[in-house]
Symmetry: D2
Subunit: 491 residues, 4 copies
């Protein structure tokens, strides 16, 4: 069953989006071929651009492209440009800033110590401040990417070794990052002190592999070793030696809980738990927390399917495909003017009228962001003759923006940022609406509940409690305040 | 849930493939925009090429392209080249013969009576013979398409009216066809006497719409009126007048039963029945005919899902997503040499190990063609730790080729064409294997069973009983026989 | 010195243009490579599109492209698609009708007798009439090219042999043509009865070569044998046998005199005379017929150079490069609004101020068509400080359109079609203006003068005396007359 | 007459090549349109890549492309991306290093003081040394261009104003440069202390224009004001204020004499002299220094034409076009295996046999670099039946490489670097060979002769006397020496 999330150019799919996936491999032949395949398995984490950098023992090679991995890195010719036993790559959700390929990662620089390539998943929340300081001293930036800040910090660090330079740089940096770094001496992988963004490690023959999700290890045929721990910095040499460092000391880990809700593929293992299981559990929690009399449980395809199976199993209401999703989504089409309302959504989601007609339906979706798609899907069900439409959401209301590498609309566009539950129900025109509770969500991922004093996950998009300072945002608000513009009070 | 079948360049998906989908509309504004949207909804019937022809009251306009509808016909610019109130289009599975765009339909010709455009789903089984006769008399062919034969028959017909010319031409033709024809006087739609290929009619405001499947009517916002009956020839004028003719007299209808099994989308209505219902029923028949002790029912995504739901409901065994399918299939990737076996399949289908490990699995797929994918999927389940793997197939064994517009491997490559049941089980390495019976299939589509004397559907791919003569095939065999090559005894 | 005429997209170069060049070779290896090189040497005869067809002993292969030969047929890959020992190709000035590649030659058809490919330089002046008759009988046309008429006439001819069929077809045809035809039995080349368009024959090792001009023979390294005579039909077999036929009987030859004036390259030999010599002779005639007191003879580059050398030698006035032409002409540029007048022309022709300033100039150009460029060039000379500007033209006034394969503006846009000599001088603002006389032109090509009763060349563009009927034009005028529109009285 | 030098992909044209042309304009509307047109007029100085940067009062915009100006900057769309009243651009001969567009100028950087764009013609001969020092301190380079060194020197300069920073940077730099710089405060233009590379200034309405050659002023319709003097640094503000600085004190100017011989267009004025006149004078000097009995003076097109006219006028031998050059040069073609020798050259230069046959020929070319083309052209003349072939060269023997922005083969590939006069004559197989003397060349450009103590031009390619140190070259030789490889003793 297709549970990954396809690219939705043009008409949006009303979801939060991971901004990146990373993959790296050192010590095996065909490193770039493995990287292409691994990135392909991470394609759901970023569909706009892709890049791979390899090292052949004497030189670095890079290819970047807009579009999917399969379109750009599946031929022998494209991979022949990327020789060597070490490679790393990156898929990217958006290419903001119109800078074309310059923002596409891995980023690369010739430093005094030799080549330096980096692939970064996350977001540095004091990047603007650091950039201004660097430019003042004479650094010249090639891109608008926050990742480039790390490179210039390394280039200008006074420490002698590459490890020291990089740790020196990361100590100045605030926010979320999972990094894969390549130098002529080997590969390094690290996660920010709280481990907000995911990173795992595996073994493929003699080679060491790093990836955002375990599914990438599966697809290249590698064995899953363990996750890179929050705050861990791992070095791998060409002779296979692996050294682990903890340069940031002890910090309470707070990985992103939305990886369980939506970002990761259901066949991945995140933070030591099956993602599919977590999602089914959320559906079961929902069935207990917000039960409902109905004839059919209908998932909003594809992301609502595991929770719908959980809901159906817990409630005993049959699971049916009341909505059929087309594989062939893509660009927005020109609408013929006579076509009925909602053709745009139907193009993607069509009602299975024979099943739906005259029935009471429980619709299950993973989350509600802007609410526009939810509204249309409720309408599609009613147009197809559904007697009642009850909406159940497999996450708490998403009321706050993310500043850690996830593409979120501003708070005023988030349905839960501007409405209460009843207003939301009214907006999407469902007969009833319920979200899983925040504690229900923590239970579904195997915890007794949310530890309010010291939450076990980053759940800022639900709670507004950000685990790090947000320096650039504060600067911007300060500046906006001087201009006496009204300020968005997210943080 | 995604139940349409995506394009699988390069590594094949081991399915039978419909070769075409057609769509036409007359009498409304933005005819080409509606056609683009309708073809997009029929994209699962043909992914290699697409064409649209429109008529603006004085001229015909045509655009053809390789690739998907969304890539080629979603912009205002592309549609601006196709003005007018009448348009028809075609999606095509394969572009055999390397003839580039010349074989892409609609085909168009300037006849003495004016322009003539035709979109054809099906296959003319005496096309080679007719072509030779036409060339002998001086006709010059532009393409290798069997459809062009129809145009030349019309061009050289001595009858006075276009209707007469076209009926004259179709009387010489043998095989399967669903046709949409445009002339400066209006649109015509017809199905071959047995109605082997599907065609339905709908209403969008004042406009009349024809399409291969009802889902295309849904997506453009049209209302489903009725199917075009087998042997029916419908003319629609620009003033909206609709005339129905039955030029071929009374013939027993025999529509293609594989539309229920796999070709049509589950949200379509074919031959007056819900396709989704038919597939669930087949799963239920299977659970009764070939029950099995197991812990989980796992569909082979995406086509096995409805039958798996039926099987699970009938058997009481829980339905679980034990295999996750990637959205991002596409070209074959270069395999890194160290990667384990089956990476190619994993790229598309990955085991959900957390669910599968240690469990007895019933795998449900819609059909087995060559068996190669089935074998790999069984192996993937075992690699993920499944205790037992039972395989159930929601159609009878596919042992015979189709000559009516479906892309089938030759008999010697069909698993059921060269093996008995036990050999097939051995080949795919399942613990048990069962197919639904031919009568079970007929029951699932609402009949008491197959009428042996006078079958209600074309089921030649299962039974080898072809409802029409196969002239070109017989000619080829005769010629091969003279060369004393061994002959495949399909028919 | 560059004396060929470059492509001038966009801003026109105010010249008449040959519409085609053809090249064919039979009997040698690498036939398509030789054809590509030969067409490249004929590129000045057509820059918009190019096509090559080859025959490898069992199949015909064709590649067509928009643009130059060098862009499309210079790689090993492109030529590998065109195997075999026989090939023919075509360069084309314009791709009228927007039919994309369908009008690009060689045209090809599968006839009952086998494949048939044709490359045609010229224009059939009763093509519309013949086409209507053919369509009436059931022929379907693929292109809007007049050449396709010939193919359908061959396809429907009742004669038994290919030679007879083709002669049968050509007897129905009126106008100008130089044809190269390929069939599975060999190559044929022929010129219309008056030989209006050129065609020559050569030898390259064992191979026989045909081309529009001798320069193509030079460039491929072939030896010039002789011209194909007006009305001659030559067949060449694969064993090298050459047969000459004269199916049209005796007709007075009238080749196009403008080949001497401008169309052919100066290093070609046309109608048994050096083209460069003819052009120098015209310059000498001009110096005698229209002498002038001046300091410098300045050619309008590049086509005016040989006549300017002749004028300078005859008059004793020094030849100087007072105008410099850029190699990098091409698309029209957006003009910056502040730029002075005539920047568009300057981009192509810039005055050499240091030479021109204060001097009396004789400008020499090959012809005047619309007069717009001539006017600008006179102005450029004055802007650069020329004291006097005298204009001398190396052809008589061009007052009539060509219907034999040359792209001419309609009569009302030809400067000589709407003005007398003094008005033309006024229009281009020269101090004096003179054209060579029609008898002077005939003297320059080695004749005592024009034979009024029976002219030795086609000179209709100067005299309005067309050597053939112009059926389609007469039909169009008859139809226009019914509509009571005023009619252009060209013929 | 076409006297600019076209691009010769693939088969080389055996010439020295200017590596760049620059153009800038400040203070007028449509600045980028004027820049495109100006660069088009400088296209002969660089054909591989082109870039334009503009400033619209608040932002810089840049477009870079491979290929010609006309292909990339002639449409309204392309220029709409480059708004504003200030723009500068660059054409480039080669894109060494495979760095794609990253080396294409103008280069741009965001400095602490704001945006900074630079277009550079020339070569910095200590760039490697400076680059190493900068990287050591933490600078990150984006390109392999020597120009980027200037930007980093500016970025890291401690001086307060942009003028001071730039002068500070240029004082560290050694070699040849003509620079156009843009900042948010205006435009600056400067030439290295000896003025090796050219730069001129003009006026277009209220706007100030800078360009490599006067022909670019002509083509945009600007008036030539004066040259930027060697060592001069000119600042232009948005209010039109022009300030001239001489930051490098008094140095003897030594502009490149090869601009007169070949680089500049004949219609340009360089170092206060008409280039066309200089070339004709060289031809006259040659006729005096190395007279010869012959029937015809034949230029090697196109660059030999002015000298040939001078030679013909001085000697009284008639000037004739004995070689015809095709406009349609381009990629190398696949040679048909049977084609005679030299087809590659003939494709470009074809003998005008009718003129040449039986005659004694004086061939005139501007220079001999490797000698390979000269050899082939002599052979073409003999193949066409020339009785004698005498070769006269309008420059002294080119025996030394250039390190100031001109693409030269290494000394061992220069014909004059490895042979004496008689050996060269033997190599090209001419009946006689002569070069103009170095003093003859100086006389032709209006001087009494070469001042040995203090030469008035840079003529290092002829004399090996380099006017600046060549630090990077010395470093490379030192390193090579350690490896005990034999070293080329150019300097």
């Amino acid at each position: 069953m297709t549970l990954t999330h396809p690219l939705d150019h043009g008409d949006g799919d009303d979801k939060l989006h991971e901004e990146c996936g990373v993959f790296g491999i050192i010590g095996g032949p065909d490193a770039s071929a493995a990287t292409a395949l691994g990135l392909h398995a991470l394609q759901h984490r970023g569909q706009e651009a892709v890049g791979i950098t390899s090292w052949d023992g004497s030189e670095f090679f890079t290819r970047r492209a807009l579009g999917h991995v399969a379109e750009n890195f599946s031929t022998a010719e494209s991979l022949a440009e990327l020789p060597g036993h070490m490679a790393a790559g990156h898929v990217r959700y958006s290419t903001t800033g119109g800078a074309g390929l310059r923002n596409v990662q891995p980023l690369y620089a010739d430093l005094a110590s030799g080549g330096f390539a980096v692939a970064h998943n996350g977001n540095i929340s004091n990047a603007m401040q650091l950039r201004q300081e660097l430019v003042q001293k004479g650094s010249i930036f090639q891109s608008t990417s926050d990742t480039e800040v790390i490179i210039h910090l390394v280039a200008t660090s006074r420490y002698p070794t590459m490890l020291d330079k990089l740790v020196d740089a990361l100590r100045m940096v605030e926010g979320a990052y999972a990094l894969i770094v390549m130098t002529p001496r080997g590969m390094a992988a690290c996660r920010d002190p709280m481990g907000i963004r995911p990173l795992v490690m595996g073994k493929l023959g003699d080679a060491t592999v790093f990836a955002s999700e375990t599914v990438a290890l599966d697809v290249v045929g590698a064995e899953f070793t363990r996750q890179v721990e929050p705050g861990e910095f791992i070095e791998v040499d060409f002779d296979g030696t692996i050294r682990s460092h903890r340069p940031f000391g002890d910090v309470q880990a707070r990985p992103c809980i939305f990886e369980h809700v939506y970002f990761s593929r259901p066949d991945s293992v995140f933070n030591k738990r099956s993602v599919y299981d977590s999602r089914k559990n959320i559906g079961m929690e929902l069935a207990r927390e917000a039960p409902c009399e109905a004839d059919l449980v209908v998932p909003v395809p594809d992301s609502g399917v595991p929770a719908a199976i959980g809901f159906a199993q817990e409630s005993g209401i049959p699971f049916e495909l009341g909505i059929i999703r087309s594989h062939y989504v893509g660009r927005t089409f020109i609408q013929p003017s006579d076509a009925s309302r909602h053709a745009g959504v139907k193009r993607k989601h069509n009602a299975n009228r024979a099943i739906v007609e005259g029935k009471r339906i429980v619709l299950i979706d993973d989350s509600i962001v802007r609410g526009t798609t939810s509204m249309k899907i409720v309408q599609i069900m009613r147009d197809a003759g559904a007697a009642e439409v009850h909406f159940r959401v497999a996450s708490p209301p998403t009321g706050h923006g993310c500043y850690y590498g996830v593409d979120t609309p501003e708070r005023s566009k988030l349905l839960a940022g501007r409405m209460d539950l009843e207003a939301m129900r009214e907006f999407i025109k469902a007969d009833s609406l319920a979200f899983v509770s925040i504690d229900g969500l923590y239970r579904a991922v195997g915890l007794p509940g949310r530890d309010k004093a010291c939450p076990q996950y980053c759940d800022a998009c639900f709670t507004g409690e950000y685990p790090t300072p947000l320096t650039d945002l504060a600067d911007r608000k300060a500046k906006d305040a001087q201009l006496t513009f009204p300020v968005n009070e997210d943080a």
